[in-house]
């Protein structure tokens, strides 16, 4: 039985460590906040200039000056701080963020990531994604195993324009988890969803990986 989106988020949350500074992308990664283990301290960084993102506000307490990278209203925590966009990306690019969890359209077997553009169809801009994958210590992708057309999104080479080359460390899909010990090594299949076999994963994945 494939994992649900929430189960994928919960799995991604297992990559968090106490004291981590983390950046979460839009989509499935935002659900990770609901699965931070009790008692674990994780500080969330928002690329638009905040460290220590709090939850959404109560109705009536929204503040137009306090939004996250997805332009959603959020709140502060006691340890929050604010800074400019240049300082925010210095933090990101300078390797100070421990973990980035984001979505993907394609990931290659050598860890290339494509998640910002579909030529001719979706050309909205890359935002902060390229800086994140270039600078953050560890990059975890949470994505569906296959595209709408049924093609494996974990593939030999990305065909869409890249967000980064050789930047992905772990991939979590609804079927399986792939990870590699470093960026010179191939991905290894390390977990499968309940009831899903390694053979099934192999059949449904076009990328080469080790098991």
């Amino acid at each position: 039985m494939p994992w649900s989106r929430d189960e994928m988020a919960a799995r991604a949350a297992r990559e968090l460590q106490d004291g981590f500074y983390v950046n979460l992308g839009i989509g499935i990664p935002t659900r990770v906040v609901n699965y931070i283990p009790a008692g674990m301290k994780v500080a969330l960084q928002s690329e638009n200039g905040m460290l220590g993102m709090g939850p959404f506000p109560y109705e009536g307490e929204e503040d137009a000056d306090l939004v996250n990278a997805g332009k959603q209203t959020i709140t502060e925590l006691p340890y929050s701080s604010y800074f400019s966009s240049a300082d925010s990306f210095a933090m990101i690019r300078g390797g100070h963020i421990d973990l980035s969890i984001l979505g993907a359209m394609e990931v290659s077997e050598t860890g290339d990531l494509a998640n910002w553009m579909v030529p001719g169809k979706m050309v909205k801009g890359m935002g902060g994604a390229m800086d994140l994958v270039a600078g953050v210590k560890r990059v975890v992708v949470a994505m569906e195993h296959a595209s709408k057309e049924g093609a494996s999104k974990f593939k030999p080479r990305c065909e869409l324009p890249l967000t980064g080359a050789n930047v992905v460390d772990m991939i979590i899909t609804e079927l399986a988890v792939f990870a590699r010990p470093d960026r010179k090594s191939p991905f290894r299949l390390i977990e499968v969803a309940p009831g899903v076999s390694a053979e099934e994963v192999r059949a449904r994945t076009s990328a080469k990986f080790v098991s």
Partner: protein, 239 residues
């Protein structure tokens, strides 16, 4: 006390007067609609100045922020990192009416910071191996490829701050800060609109985010709409 060197203006229109010509380059602060110089953008629209190159992280929404200058076709080129919230933008880009240069957000922020700081260029890993690298010098250091990106300046920087004083010192509020501080340094003329304009001496020098040296013109803004793009809330637990 106002002197001939006073930076204080009555409103956006008078602050903007004579600062931008047709074909000029402007920078506008803000992240989405958060921290945008609302009054100055409206004044720019009213001025009718055309053929502008606009540098901003986003393009507003169709009917607010920089989006209103796209509707009037006053902007002919944009340098931005993400324009997804603006359908008119996408339409003009796909039809060739608008030139667009995407910069990664961190690269854009650092280009503007560098421009104001006298740094010609800098090498960054961001965008190495992607479309962003095309046409640019690169350097390989310890096996990593870095891309040379150059500093950006503008004829006019339009900045929004929370408080400012008569010397042009500025203080920002929360995530409305974003691109404003760097842009303040990178405009040949920087015009700041603030929610509250106070006398020099009222702001704590230790807490000033942008020293007044960077600000040529300042005025107290009005009628801020401060629109929220995604109003997300959580439920209170049952009492």
């Amino acid at each position: 006390m106002t002197t001939s060197s006073s930076k204080i203006y009555a409103d956006a229109r008078s602050a903007l007067a004579g600062a931008v010509q047709d074909g000029g380059t402007i920078m506008a602060g803000g992240f989405g609609l958060c921290g945008i110089p609302e009054n100055l953008i409206e004044a720019l629209r009213e001025s009718g100045v055309r053929n502008l190159t606009a540098i901003s992280n986003n393009a507003g929404v169709d009917d607010f922020g920089l989006g209103i200058l796209l509707k009037t076709r006053q902007i002919t080129k944009m340098i931005a990192s993400y324009v997804g919230e603006n359908k008119e933008f996408e339409r003009q880009y796909l039809s060739g009416e608008l030139q667009l240069e995407f910069n990664p957000q961190g690269t854009l922020a650092e280009r503007i910071r560098a421009g104001g700081a006298g740094i010609y260029g800098f090498y960054t890993k961001t965008g190495a191996g992607t479309l962003v690298q095309e046409g640019k010098e690169t350097r390989v250091v310890n096996g990593d490829t870095y891309v040379l990106e150059t500093g950006l300046v503008a004829d006019v920087a339009l900045v929004k701050a929370w408080k400012g004083d008569t010397e042009g010192n500025l203080v920002y509020r929360k995530t409305a800060r974003n691109f404003n501080p760097m842009m303040a340094t990178a405009g040949r003329i920087t015009i700041a609109e603030v929610e509250e304009l106070v006398e020099a001496g009222e702001l704590n020098p230790d807490h000033i985010h942008t020293p007044g040296i960077y600000v040529s013109r300042i005025f107290q803004g009005k009628d801020y709409r401060k629109l929220i793009e995604q109003r997300t809330v959580r439920k209170r637990d049952a009492a």
